[in-house]
Protein backbone atom coordinates (compact mmCIF):
# COMPACT_ATOMS: atom_id res chain seq x y z
CA UNK A 1 0.00 0.00 0.00
CA UNK A 2 1.41 3.34 -1.00
CA UNK A 3 0.07 6.61 0.16
CA UNK A 4 0.02 9.64 -2.02
CA UNK A 5 -0.03 12.53 0.31
CA UNK A 6 0.36 12.49 4.03
CA UNK A 7 -1.34 15.10 6.08
CA UNK A 8 0.07 15.53 9.57
CA UNK A 9 -2.58 14.18 11.86
CA UNK A 10 -4.63 16.84 13.53
CA UNK A 11 -2.86 19.68 11.76
CA UNK A 12 -4.86 22.81 12.35
CA UNK A 13 -6.79 24.28 9.45
CA UNK A 14 -4.61 26.89 7.79
CA UNK A 15 -5.09 30.44 8.93
CA UNK A 16 -7.64 32.60 7.19
CA UNK A 17 -4.97 34.83 5.84
CA UNK A 18 -2.72 32.09 4.51
CA UNK A 19 -3.13 33.07 0.90
CA UNK A 20 -4.17 36.62 1.07
CA UNK A 21 -2.86 38.14 -2.13
CA UNK A 22 -4.06 41.60 -3.08
CA UNK A 23 -6.66 40.12 -5.41
CA UNK A 24 -7.96 37.98 -2.60
CA UNK A 25 -8.06 40.95 -0.30
CA UNK A 26 -10.14 42.94 -2.76
CA UNK A 27 -12.45 39.99 -3.23
CA UNK A 28 -12.83 39.67 0.48
CA UNK A 29 -13.70 43.33 0.84
CA UNK A 30 -16.28 42.93 -1.88
CA UNK A 31 -17.76 39.90 -0.21
CA UNK A 32 -18.05 41.72 3.06
CA UNK A 33 -19.13 45.04 1.55
CA UNK A 34 -21.25 44.37 -1.52
CA UNK A 35 -22.03 48.05 -2.04
CA UNK A 36 -18.39 48.77 -2.69
CA UNK A 37 -18.94 48.26 -6.42
CA UNK A 38 -21.60 50.98 -6.77
CA UNK A 39 -19.40 53.27 -4.67
CA UNK A 40 -16.52 52.82 -7.10
CA UNK A 41 -18.83 53.53 -10.03
CA UNK A 42 -20.15 56.63 -8.27
CA UNK A 43 -16.73 58.05 -7.51
CA UNK A 44 -15.27 57.32 -10.93
CA UNK A 45 -18.21 58.80 -12.82
CA UNK A 46 -18.20 61.91 -10.61
CA UNK A 47 -14.54 62.45 -11.40
CA UNK A 48 -15.13 61.99 -15.12
CA UNK A 49 -17.99 64.49 -15.12
CA UNK A 50 -15.89 66.98 -13.23
CA UNK A 51 -13.24 66.70 -15.90
CA UNK A 52 -15.92 67.43 -18.50
CA UNK A 53 -17.22 70.48 -16.67
CA UNK A 54 -15.41 71.77 -13.62
CA UNK A 55 -18.62 73.24 -12.23
CA UNK A 56 -19.64 69.71 -11.39
CA UNK A 57 -17.80 69.72 -8.09
CA UNK A 58 -18.79 73.26 -7.20
CA UNK A 59 -20.47 73.63 -3.85
CA UNK A 60 -23.60 74.93 -5.51
CA UNK A 61 -23.90 71.96 -7.82
CA UNK A 62 -23.20 69.45 -5.07
CA UNK A 63 -25.85 71.08 -2.89
CA UNK A 64 -28.34 70.85 -5.69
CA UNK A 65 -27.59 67.25 -6.49
CA UNK A 66 -28.18 66.29 -2.88
CA UNK A 67 -31.41 68.25 -2.80
CA UNK A 68 -32.60 66.54 -5.91
CA UNK A 69 -31.82 63.12 -4.57
CA UNK A 70 -33.67 63.60 -1.28
CA UNK A 71 -37.18 62.61 -2.38
CA UNK A 72 -36.26 59.81 -4.74
CA UNK A 73 -33.74 58.60 -2.16
CA UNK A 74 -36.49 58.27 0.41
CA UNK A 75 -38.85 56.53 -1.99
CA UNK A 76 -36.06 54.15 -2.97
CA UNK A 77 -35.42 53.40 0.69
CA UNK A 78 -38.97 52.21 1.24
CA UNK A 79 -38.88 50.39 -2.07
CA UNK A 80 -35.66 48.62 -1.06
CA UNK A 81 -37.10 47.19 2.13
CA UNK A 82 -40.01 45.82 0.10
CA UNK A 83 -37.73 44.44 -2.60
CA UNK A 84 -35.67 42.71 0.08
CA UNK A 85 -38.78 40.66 0.90
CA UNK A 86 -38.99 39.69 -2.80
CA UNK A 87 -41.79 42.20 -3.27
CA UNK A 88 -42.08 45.29 -5.43
CA UNK A 89 -43.98 48.53 -4.99
CA UNK A 90 -45.44 50.20 -8.04
CA UNK A 91 -47.59 52.53 -5.97
CA UNK A 92 -44.70 54.32 -4.31
CA UNK A 93 -45.18 57.60 -6.18
CA UNK A 94 -48.96 57.50 -5.93
CA UNK A 95 -48.79 56.96 -2.18
CA UNK A 96 -46.46 59.92 -1.81
CA UNK A 97 -48.64 62.19 -3.92
CA UNK A 98 -51.76 61.19 -2.00
CA UNK A 99 -50.06 61.86 1.35
CA UNK A 100 -48.77 65.18 0.08
CA UNK A 101 -52.18 66.35 -1.08
CA UNK A 102 -53.70 65.33 2.25
CA UNK A 103 -51.06 67.23 4.23
CA UNK A 104 -51.38 70.37 2.18
CA UNK A 105 -55.12 70.10 1.66
CA UNK A 106 -55.94 69.72 5.34
CA UNK A 107 -53.55 72.50 6.33
CA UNK A 108 -54.57 74.97 3.65
CA UNK A 109 -58.02 74.19 2.32
CA UNK A 110 -59.51 72.71 5.47
CA UNK A 111 -57.55 74.94 7.81
CA UNK A 112 -56.34 72.26 10.19
CA UNK A 113 -53.42 73.06 12.47
CA UNK A 114 -50.32 72.25 10.46
CA UNK A 115 -49.07 69.66 12.91
CA UNK A 116 -52.33 67.74 12.72
CA UNK A 117 -52.42 67.99 8.96
CA UNK A 118 -48.88 66.66 8.77
CA UNK A 119 -49.75 63.85 11.14
CA UNK A 120 -52.85 63.00 9.14
CA UNK A 121 -50.78 62.86 5.95
CA UNK A 122 -48.34 60.49 7.60
CA UNK A 123 -51.22 58.34 8.78
CA UNK A 124 -52.62 58.23 5.27
CA UNK A 125 -49.22 57.20 3.93
CA UNK A 126 -49.01 54.52 6.56
CA UNK A 127 -52.48 53.36 5.59
CA UNK A 128 -51.45 53.02 1.96
CA UNK A 129 -48.70 50.69 3.15
CA UNK A 130 -51.19 48.80 5.27
CA UNK A 131 -53.49 48.29 2.30
CA UNK A 132 -50.66 47.01 0.13
CA UNK A 133 -49.45 44.79 2.94
CA UNK A 134 -52.89 43.31 3.52
CA UNK A 135 -53.34 42.62 -0.17
CA UNK A 136 -50.07 40.72 -0.19
CA UNK A 137 -50.50 38.84 3.06
CA UNK A 138 -54.25 38.33 3.37
CA UNK A 139 -55.40 38.10 -0.20
CA UNK A 140 -52.20 36.53 -1.48
CA UNK A 141 -52.10 38.96 -4.39
CA UNK A 142 -48.59 39.13 -5.87
CA UNK A 143 -47.00 42.46 -4.87
CA UNK A 144 -46.69 43.49 -8.51
CA UNK A 145 -50.44 43.28 -9.04
CA UNK A 146 -51.45 44.49 -5.60
CA UNK A 147 -49.41 47.65 -5.91
CA UNK A 148 -50.31 48.11 -9.57
CA UNK A 149 -53.93 48.14 -8.48
CA UNK A 150 -53.31 50.53 -5.64
CA UNK A 151 -51.27 52.69 -8.00
CA UNK A 152 -54.52 53.30 -9.87
CA UNK A 153 -56.54 53.68 -6.70
CA UNK A 154 -54.17 56.03 -4.85
CA UNK A 155 -53.60 58.13 -7.95
CA UNK A 156 -57.32 58.53 -8.46
CA UNK A 157 -57.91 59.32 -4.80
CA UNK A 158 -55.13 61.90 -4.79
CA UNK A 159 -56.52 63.60 -7.88
CA UNK A 160 -60.08 63.49 -6.63
CA UNK A 161 -59.01 65.00 -3.32
CA UNK A 162 -56.84 67.63 -4.98
CA UNK A 163 -59.67 68.46 -7.34
CA UNK A 164 -57.32 70.11 -9.79
CA UNK A 165 -55.67 72.43 -7.33
CA UNK A 166 -52.08 73.23 -6.56
CA UNK A 167 -51.68 74.16 -2.91
CA UNK A 168 -49.09 76.59 -1.63
CA UNK A 169 -48.35 76.34 2.06
CA UNK A 170 -47.64 79.53 3.96
CA UNK A 171 -44.00 80.51 4.11
CA UNK A 172 -42.35 79.48 7.35
CA UNK A 173 -44.88 76.76 7.88
CA UNK A 174 -43.84 73.44 9.38
CA UNK A 175 -44.79 71.83 6.08
CA UNK A 176 -41.95 73.68 4.42
CA UNK A 177 -39.40 72.80 7.10
CA UNK A 178 -37.66 70.02 5.13
CA UNK A 179 -36.92 72.59 2.45
CA UNK A 180 -34.92 74.83 4.79
CA UNK A 181 -31.35 75.31 3.73
CA UNK A 182 -28.47 75.20 6.16
CA UNK A 183 -25.60 77.23 4.84
CA UNK A 184 -22.16 75.68 5.33
CA UNK A 185 -19.83 78.03 3.57
CA UNK A 186 -21.09 78.14 0.02
CA UNK A 187 -22.58 74.70 0.40
CA UNK A 188 -26.25 74.68 1.30
CA UNK A 189 -27.58 71.58 2.92
CA UNK A 190 -31.32 71.01 2.79
CA UNK A 191 -32.94 69.79 5.99
CA UNK A 192 -34.72 67.13 3.96
CA UNK A 193 -31.37 65.67 2.97
CA UNK A 194 -30.48 65.24 6.62
CA UNK A 195 -33.87 63.61 7.17
CA UNK A 196 -33.18 61.23 4.32
CA UNK A 197 -29.72 60.31 5.57
CA UNK A 198 -31.06 59.80 9.08
CA UNK A 199 -33.71 57.43 7.76
CA UNK A 200 -31.12 55.49 5.80
CA UNK A 201 -29.17 55.18 9.03
CA UNK A 202 -32.16 53.99 11.01
CA UNK A 203 -33.42 51.52 8.42
CA UNK A 204 -29.89 50.29 7.74
CA UNK A 205 -29.46 49.69 11.44
CA UNK A 206 -32.78 47.90 11.74
CA UNK A 207 -31.97 45.66 8.79
CA UNK A 208 -28.44 44.84 9.78
CA UNK A 209 -28.48 44.81 13.54
CA UNK A 210 -31.90 43.68 14.73
CA UNK A 211 -33.84 40.46 14.62
CA UNK A 212 -36.49 42.15 12.51
CA UNK A 213 -33.89 42.83 9.85
CA UNK A 214 -32.65 39.26 9.83
CA UNK A 215 -36.22 38.14 9.39
CA UNK A 216 -36.72 40.52 6.48
CA UNK A 217 -33.76 38.95 4.72
CA UNK A 218 -34.86 35.42 5.61
CA UNK A 219 -38.38 35.98 4.28
CA UNK A 220 -37.06 37.45 1.05
CA UNK A 221 -34.50 34.72 0.67
CA UNK A 222 -36.73 31.71 1.17
CA UNK A 223 -40.22 32.43 2.48
CA UNK A 224 -40.99 28.77 3.09
CA UNK A 225 -37.84 28.28 5.16
CA UNK A 226 -38.64 31.41 7.12
CA UNK A 227 -42.12 30.09 7.83
CA UNK A 228 -40.75 26.73 8.91
CA UNK A 229 -38.32 28.22 11.41
CA UNK A 230 -41.31 29.88 13.02
CA UNK A 231 -41.21 33.42 11.67
CA UNK A 232 -44.64 34.98 11.35
CA UNK A 233 -44.11 35.90 7.73
CA UNK A 234 -47.46 37.63 7.28
CA UNK A 235 -46.89 39.93 10.23
CA UNK A 236 -43.37 40.63 9.08
CA UNK A 237 -44.45 41.52 5.57
CA UNK A 238 -47.17 43.74 6.94
CA UNK A 239 -44.63 45.59 9.06
CA UNK A 240 -42.44 46.07 6.02
CA UNK A 241 -45.20 47.58 3.89
CA UNK A 242 -46.35 49.81 6.72
CA UNK A 243 -42.80 51.01 7.33
CA UNK A 244 -42.41 51.71 3.63
CA UNK A 245 -45.68 53.64 3.69
CA UNK A 246 -44.44 55.76 6.56
CA UNK A 247 -41.23 56.50 4.68
CA UNK A 248 -43.27 57.57 1.65
CA UNK A 249 -45.18 59.90 3.97
CA UNK A 250 -41.94 61.49 5.07
CA UNK A 251 -40.93 61.71 1.43
CA UNK A 252 -44.18 63.59 0.80
CA UNK A 253 -43.24 66.09 3.47
CA UNK A 254 -39.75 66.53 2.01
CA UNK A 255 -41.31 66.95 -1.42
CA UNK A 256 -43.59 69.74 -0.21
CA UNK A 257 -40.67 71.42 1.51
CA UNK A 258 -38.41 71.17 -1.45
CA UNK A 259 -40.87 72.23 -4.12
CA UNK A 260 -42.73 74.72 -1.98
CA UNK A 261 -46.15 73.52 -2.97
CA UNK A 262 -48.24 70.42 -3.33
CA UNK A 263 -49.51 69.36 -6.71
CA UNK A 264 -50.40 66.10 -8.37
CA UNK A 265 -48.31 66.97 -11.37
CA UNK A 266 -45.22 65.00 -10.37
CA UNK A 267 -43.20 62.54 -12.40
CA UNK A 268 -45.04 59.37 -13.31
CA UNK A 269 -41.88 57.27 -13.31
CA UNK A 270 -41.16 57.45 -9.59
CA UNK A 271 -41.85 53.74 -9.25
CA UNK A 272 -39.37 52.78 -11.96
CA UNK A 273 -36.86 55.34 -10.70
CA UNK A 274 -36.94 54.04 -7.15
CA UNK A 275 -36.56 50.44 -8.29
CA UNK A 276 -33.70 51.48 -10.53
CA UNK A 277 -31.82 53.06 -7.64
CA UNK A 278 -32.13 49.86 -5.66
CA UNK A 279 -31.08 47.57 -8.49
CA UNK A 280 -28.11 49.72 -9.48
CA UNK A 281 -27.15 49.61 -5.83
CA UNK A 282 -26.93 45.84 -5.98
CA UNK A 283 -30.26 44.88 -4.43
CA UNK A 284 -31.66 41.72 -6.00
CA UNK A 285 -35.20 41.88 -7.33
CA UNK A 286 -35.58 38.26 -6.21
CA UNK A 287 -35.29 39.32 -2.59
CA UNK A 288 -32.99 38.64 0.32
CA UNK A 289 -29.84 40.21 -1.08
CA UNK A 290 -28.59 43.78 -0.87
CA UNK A 291 -28.25 46.63 1.59
CA UNK A 292 -29.79 50.08 1.77
CA UNK A 293 -26.42 51.80 1.46
CA UNK A 294 -26.26 50.36 -2.04
CA UNK A 295 -29.60 51.95 -2.86
CA UNK A 296 -28.32 55.33 -1.68
CA UNK A 297 -25.34 54.97 -3.99
CA UNK A 298 -27.67 53.84 -6.75
CA UNK A 299 -29.84 56.93 -6.38
CA UNK A 300 -26.75 59.14 -6.35
CA UNK A 301 -25.34 57.43 -9.44
CA UNK A 302 -28.49 58.18 -11.44
CA UNK A 303 -28.44 61.76 -10.18
CA UNK A 304 -24.78 62.20 -11.08
CA UNK A 305 -25.43 60.87 -14.58
CA UNK A 306 -28.35 63.22 -15.20
CA UNK A 307 -26.70 66.27 -13.76
CA UNK A 308 -23.29 65.51 -15.21
CA UNK A 309 -24.61 64.94 -18.73
CA UNK A 310 -26.61 68.16 -18.61
CA UNK A 311 -23.62 70.11 -17.36
CA UNK A 312 -21.45 68.54 -20.02
CA UNK A 313 -23.81 70.14 -22.52
CA UNK A 314 -25.19 66.93 -23.99
CA UNK A 315 -28.42 67.60 -25.89
CA UNK A 316 -31.79 66.32 -24.74
CA UNK A 317 -32.20 63.24 -26.86
CA UNK A 318 -28.58 62.28 -26.75
CA UNK A 319 -28.76 62.75 -23.01
CA UNK A 320 -31.44 60.12 -22.78
CA UNK A 321 -29.38 57.84 -24.96
CA UNK A 322 -26.24 58.41 -22.94
CA UNK A 323 -28.07 57.87 -19.68
CA UNK A 324 -29.28 54.49 -20.89
CA UNK A 325 -25.79 53.48 -21.86
CA UNK A 326 -24.31 54.73 -18.61
CA UNK A 327 -26.81 52.90 -16.43
CA UNK A 328 -25.99 49.67 -18.20
CA UNK A 329 -22.28 50.37 -17.97
CA UNK A 330 -22.52 51.16 -14.27
CA UNK A 331 -24.10 47.83 -13.50
CA UNK A 332 -21.87 45.91 -15.88
CA UNK A 333 -18.82 47.38 -14.16
CA UNK A 334 -20.28 46.52 -10.79
CA UNK A 335 -20.87 42.94 -11.92
CA UNK A 336 -17.36 42.76 -13.20
CA UNK A 337 -15.95 44.12 -9.95
CA UNK A 338 -17.82 41.66 -7.82
CA UNK A 339 -17.32 38.71 -10.08
CA UNK A 340 -16.28 35.77 -7.98
CA UNK A 341 -14.66 32.86 -9.70
CA UNK A 342 -16.86 29.78 -9.56
Amino acid sequence: MTLDTAEAAGSPPPSDLAKSSVGNRVQHILHAHPSFGPLVVLVVSAIVFDLLNSRFFSAANLSIMLQEVAVIGLLALGQTVIILTAGIDLAVGAAMILAQMVMAGLAITSGWPVVLALGAGLVVALATGLVDGLLVTRFKVPPFIGTLGTLGVFTALGLLYANGQTLNPLPGSLLLWPGNLIQIGSFSLMTGVIVMLALYGIVGYALGRTAWGKHVYAVGDDPEAARLVGINTARLLLSVYVLAGLIYGIAAWVQIGRVGDASTNISSTLNLDSITAAVIGGVSLFGGRGIVLGTLFGALIVQVFQNGLALAGVQDLYQQLAEGVLVIAAVAVDQWIRKVRT
Binding site: D16, R209, T210, K214, A218, R227, V229, G230, G288, R289
Partner: protein, 261 residues
Protein backbone atom coordinates in the same frame (compact mmCIF):
# COMPACT_ATOMS: atom_id res chain seq x y z
CA UNK B 1 -54.81 0.68 18.46
CA UNK B 2 -55.22 -1.15 21.75
CA UNK B 3 -51.77 -1.41 23.22
CA UNK B 4 -48.31 -0.34 22.27
CA UNK B 5 -44.93 -1.86 22.57
CA UNK B 6 -42.79 -1.15 25.64
CA UNK B 7 -43.77 -0.38 29.16
CA UNK B 8 -44.64 3.19 28.36
CA UNK B 9 -48.24 2.32 27.70
CA UNK B 10 -49.15 3.22 31.23
CA UNK B 11 -48.13 6.84 30.80
CA UNK B 12 -49.81 9.26 28.46
CA UNK B 13 -48.17 10.13 25.12
CA UNK B 14 -46.51 13.54 24.91
CA UNK B 15 -47.45 13.86 21.31
CA UNK B 16 -50.01 11.74 19.51
CA UNK B 17 -52.05 11.72 16.35
CA UNK B 18 -55.13 9.79 15.22
CA UNK B 19 -56.17 8.97 11.68
CA UNK B 20 -54.38 11.79 9.94
CA UNK B 21 -55.08 12.12 6.23
CA UNK B 22 -53.50 14.49 3.79
CA UNK B 23 -53.65 14.57 0.04
CA UNK B 24 -52.15 16.82 -2.57
CA UNK B 25 -54.32 16.90 -5.64
CA UNK B 26 -54.45 13.28 -6.70
CA UNK B 27 -51.63 12.17 -4.44
CA UNK B 28 -52.54 10.79 -1.06
CA UNK B 29 -49.58 11.26 1.26
CA UNK B 30 -51.31 10.20 4.48
CA UNK B 31 -54.19 7.74 4.63
CA UNK B 32 -55.20 7.65 8.25
CA UNK B 33 -51.88 7.66 10.03
CA UNK B 34 -51.62 7.19 13.79
CA UNK B 35 -48.73 8.22 15.93
CA UNK B 36 -47.63 8.19 19.57
CA UNK B 37 -44.57 9.56 21.25
CA UNK B 38 -44.08 8.77 24.93
CA UNK B 39 -42.12 10.84 27.46
CA UNK B 40 -38.41 10.36 27.49
CA UNK B 41 -38.21 7.98 24.57
CA UNK B 42 -36.46 7.96 21.26
CA UNK B 43 -39.03 6.97 18.68
CA UNK B 44 -37.63 6.08 15.30
CA UNK B 45 -39.86 6.47 12.26
CA UNK B 46 -38.81 4.35 9.31
CA UNK B 47 -40.36 3.56 5.98
CA UNK B 48 -39.85 3.46 2.27
CA UNK B 49 -39.27 6.60 0.27
CA UNK B 50 -42.59 8.29 -0.17
CA UNK B 51 -44.23 6.36 2.66
CA UNK B 52 -45.38 9.60 4.22
CA UNK B 53 -42.85 10.06 7.01
CA UNK B 54 -42.11 13.68 6.24
CA UNK B 55 -45.78 14.36 5.58
CA UNK B 56 -46.57 12.95 9.00
CA UNK B 57 -44.08 15.05 10.90
CA UNK B 58 -45.02 18.14 8.92
CA UNK B 59 -48.52 17.76 10.32
CA UNK B 60 -47.13 17.27 13.81
CA UNK B 61 -44.96 20.36 13.61
CA UNK B 62 -47.53 22.72 12.11
CA UNK B 63 -45.78 22.94 8.75
CA UNK B 64 -48.88 21.60 7.06
CA UNK B 65 -52.46 21.07 8.12
CA UNK B 66 -53.95 17.58 7.84
CA UNK B 67 -57.14 17.20 5.82
CA UNK B 68 -58.64 15.24 8.67
CA UNK B 69 -57.58 13.60 11.92
CA UNK B 70 -56.54 14.83 15.34
CA UNK B 71 -53.32 15.79 17.07
CA UNK B 72 -52.82 15.65 20.82
CA UNK B 73 -50.19 17.31 22.95
CA UNK B 74 -50.06 15.96 26.50
CA UNK B 75 -53.46 14.45 25.89
CA UNK B 76 -55.10 17.72 24.83
CA UNK B 77 -56.25 18.11 21.27
CA UNK B 78 -54.34 20.85 19.50
CA UNK B 79 -54.42 22.50 16.09
CA UNK B 80 -51.16 23.90 14.86
CA UNK B 81 -51.94 26.40 12.18
CA UNK B 82 -48.34 27.45 11.65
CA UNK B 83 -44.90 26.08 12.55
CA UNK B 84 -44.76 28.95 14.98
CA UNK B 85 -47.67 27.48 16.97
CA UNK B 86 -45.84 24.19 17.31
CA UNK B 87 -42.60 25.95 18.18
CA UNK B 88 -44.32 27.90 20.91
CA UNK B 89 -45.63 24.62 22.29
CA UNK B 90 -42.00 23.47 22.56
CA UNK B 91 -41.75 21.30 19.46
CA UNK B 92 -38.49 21.82 17.62
CA UNK B 93 -38.08 20.29 14.18
CA UNK B 94 -35.29 19.69 11.69
CA UNK B 95 -36.96 19.38 8.32
CA UNK B 96 -35.64 17.18 5.57
CA UNK B 97 -35.34 20.25 3.38
CA UNK B 98 -33.35 21.88 6.20
CA UNK B 99 -35.28 25.17 6.03
CA UNK B 100 -32.36 27.55 6.03
CA UNK B 101 -32.09 31.05 4.60
CA UNK B 102 -29.39 30.56 1.97
CA UNK B 103 -28.00 34.09 1.90
CA UNK B 104 -27.74 34.49 5.67
CA UNK B 105 -24.63 33.41 7.55
CA UNK B 106 -24.36 30.47 9.89
CA UNK B 107 -24.99 32.35 13.12
CA UNK B 108 -28.01 34.19 11.73
CA UNK B 109 -29.49 30.91 10.60
CA UNK B 110 -28.82 29.14 13.86
CA UNK B 111 -30.53 31.88 15.82
CA UNK B 112 -33.23 32.72 13.29
CA UNK B 113 -36.41 33.48 15.21
CA UNK B 114 -34.67 33.46 18.58
CA UNK B 115 -31.95 36.02 18.20
CA UNK B 116 -29.91 37.15 21.18
CA UNK B 117 -29.84 40.84 21.92
CA UNK B 118 -26.98 42.78 23.43
CA UNK B 119 -27.13 43.23 27.18
CA UNK B 120 -28.06 46.63 28.55
CA UNK B 121 -30.09 49.39 26.94
CA UNK B 122 -28.50 48.80 23.54
CA UNK B 123 -30.30 45.49 23.41
CA UNK B 124 -33.38 46.39 25.36
CA UNK B 125 -34.20 49.69 23.75
CA UNK B 126 -32.43 49.59 20.42
CA UNK B 127 -32.83 45.84 20.02
CA UNK B 128 -29.24 45.56 18.94
CA UNK B 129 -28.27 41.95 18.31
CA UNK B 130 -25.26 40.49 20.01
CA UNK B 131 -23.69 39.34 16.80
CA UNK B 132 -20.28 38.54 18.25
CA UNK B 133 -21.81 36.31 20.87
CA UNK B 134 -24.09 34.57 18.38
CA UNK B 135 -21.14 33.90 16.10
CA UNK B 136 -19.05 32.50 18.92
CA UNK B 137 -21.82 30.27 20.16
CA UNK B 138 -22.66 29.16 16.65
CA UNK B 139 -19.08 28.07 16.15
CA UNK B 140 -19.34 26.06 19.37
CA UNK B 141 -22.61 24.44 18.38
CA UNK B 142 -21.30 23.38 15.01
CA UNK B 143 -18.01 22.12 16.48
CA UNK B 144 -19.98 20.07 18.96
CA UNK B 145 -21.44 18.17 16.01
CA UNK B 146 -17.94 17.23 14.92
CA UNK B 147 -17.73 19.64 12.00
CA UNK B 148 -14.13 20.77 12.10
CA UNK B 149 -13.63 21.90 8.54
CA UNK B 150 -15.48 25.17 8.90
CA UNK B 151 -13.05 27.88 7.92
CA UNK B 152 -15.17 30.97 8.02
CA UNK B 153 -18.06 31.41 10.42
CA UNK B 154 -19.40 34.33 8.37
CA UNK B 155 -20.00 32.16 5.28
CA UNK B 156 -23.56 32.32 3.97
CA UNK B 157 -25.05 28.85 4.39
CA UNK B 158 -25.61 28.54 0.65
CA UNK B 159 -21.84 28.20 0.28
CA UNK B 160 -21.52 25.45 2.87
CA UNK B 161 -20.93 21.83 1.97
CA UNK B 162 -23.97 19.56 2.15
CA UNK B 163 -22.96 18.17 5.52
CA UNK B 164 -22.04 21.52 7.00
CA UNK B 165 -25.42 22.86 6.06
CA UNK B 166 -27.20 19.95 7.67
CA UNK B 167 -25.12 20.45 10.78
CA UNK B 168 -26.42 24.01 11.05
CA UNK B 169 -30.00 22.81 10.90
CA UNK B 170 -29.42 20.03 13.42
CA UNK B 171 -27.53 22.30 15.78
CA UNK B 172 -30.53 24.61 15.81
CA UNK B 173 -32.93 21.92 16.96
CA UNK B 174 -30.51 20.38 19.41
CA UNK B 175 -29.90 23.71 21.05
CA UNK B 176 -33.45 24.85 21.41
CA UNK B 177 -35.93 21.97 21.73
CA UNK B 178 -37.85 22.29 24.98
CA UNK B 179 -40.55 19.63 24.87
CA UNK B 180 -40.12 17.46 21.80
CA UNK B 181 -37.39 17.31 19.18
CA UNK B 182 -38.25 15.98 15.73
CA UNK B 183 -35.41 15.13 13.39
CA UNK B 184 -36.18 14.26 9.75
CA UNK B 185 -33.14 12.39 8.44
CA UNK B 186 -30.66 14.50 10.39
CA UNK B 187 -27.58 12.55 9.40
CA UNK B 188 -28.29 11.92 5.73
CA UNK B 189 -25.52 14.22 4.56
CA UNK B 190 -23.23 13.84 7.54
CA UNK B 191 -19.92 12.02 7.66
CA UNK B 192 -19.07 9.09 9.89
CA UNK B 193 -17.74 11.07 12.80
CA UNK B 194 -20.42 13.73 12.52
CA UNK B 195 -23.20 11.13 12.47
CA UNK B 196 -21.77 9.57 15.58
CA UNK B 197 -21.76 12.95 17.26
CA UNK B 198 -25.38 13.51 16.37
CA UNK B 199 -26.25 10.10 17.76
CA UNK B 200 -24.47 11.00 20.95
CA UNK B 201 -26.36 14.28 21.16
CA UNK B 202 -29.66 12.51 20.60
CA UNK B 203 -28.92 10.17 23.45
CA UNK B 204 -27.86 13.06 25.62
CA UNK B 205 -31.10 14.92 24.95
CA UNK B 206 -33.09 11.80 25.76
CA UNK B 207 -31.12 11.43 28.98
CA UNK B 208 -32.19 14.94 29.86
CA UNK B 209 -35.75 13.69 29.54
CA UNK B 210 -36.55 15.14 26.13
CA UNK B 211 -38.50 12.77 23.88
CA UNK B 212 -37.20 12.55 20.35
CA UNK B 213 -38.67 11.55 17.00
CA UNK B 214 -35.97 10.35 14.65
CA UNK B 215 -36.67 9.67 11.00
CA UNK B 216 -33.86 7.76 9.37
CA UNK B 217 -33.00 5.25 6.68
CA UNK B 218 -29.89 4.14 8.57
CA UNK B 219 -31.05 0.85 10.11
CA UNK B 220 -28.02 0.11 12.28
CA UNK B 221 -28.21 3.54 13.83
CA UNK B 222 -31.98 3.26 14.29
CA UNK B 223 -31.65 -0.07 16.04
CA UNK B 224 -28.86 1.31 18.16
CA UNK B 225 -30.71 4.44 19.27
CA UNK B 226 -34.43 3.84 19.25
CA UNK B 227 -36.60 2.73 22.13
CA UNK B 228 -39.46 2.00 19.78
CA UNK B 229 -39.75 1.96 16.02
CA UNK B 230 -42.76 3.31 14.12
CA UNK B 231 -42.94 1.74 10.67
CA UNK B 232 -44.70 3.89 8.08
CA UNK B 233 -46.05 2.31 4.93
CA UNK B 234 -48.24 3.71 2.16
CA UNK B 235 -49.36 6.65 4.23
CA UNK B 236 -50.25 4.63 7.33
CA UNK B 237 -48.53 3.28 10.38
CA UNK B 238 -47.96 -0.36 9.52
CA UNK B 239 -46.58 -1.37 12.88
CA UNK B 240 -44.71 -0.31 15.96
CA UNK B 241 -41.90 -2.64 16.94
CA UNK B 242 -39.20 -2.75 19.55
CA UNK B 243 -35.54 -3.16 18.59
CA UNK B 244 -35.32 -5.73 21.35
CA UNK B 245 -37.90 -8.09 19.97
CA UNK B 246 -37.41 -7.55 16.26
CA UNK B 247 -34.46 -7.74 13.94
CA UNK B 248 -33.51 -5.35 11.18
CA UNK B 249 -34.71 -7.90 8.68
CA UNK B 250 -38.12 -7.95 10.33
CA UNK B 251 -38.28 -4.18 10.17
CA UNK B 252 -37.29 -4.03 6.51
CA UNK B 253 -39.74 -6.77 5.67
CA UNK B 254 -42.63 -4.92 7.26
CA UNK B 255 -41.52 -1.64 5.75
CA UNK B 256 -41.45 -2.99 2.23
CA UNK B 257 -44.61 -4.98 2.61
CA UNK B 258 -42.81 -8.27 2.21
CA UNK B 259 -44.37 -9.34 5.47
CA UNK B 260 -47.70 -8.47 6.98
CA UNK B 261 -46.08 -7.17 10.17
Amino acid sequence: MSATESGDSRTEPVLAARALTKSYGRVEALRGADFELYPGEILAVIGDNGAGKSSLIKCLSGASTPDSGQIFLDGEEVTFRTPQDAKEAGIETVYQTLAVAPALDIASNLYLGREIRKPGPLGRVLRHLDITRMREEAREHVKRLGIETLQDITQPVETLSGGQRQAVAVARAAAFGSKVVILDEPTAALGVRESAQVAAIIKQLRDHGLPIVLISHDMPSVFDLADRIHIQRLGRRAAVISPNTHTMEDAVAIMTGARAA
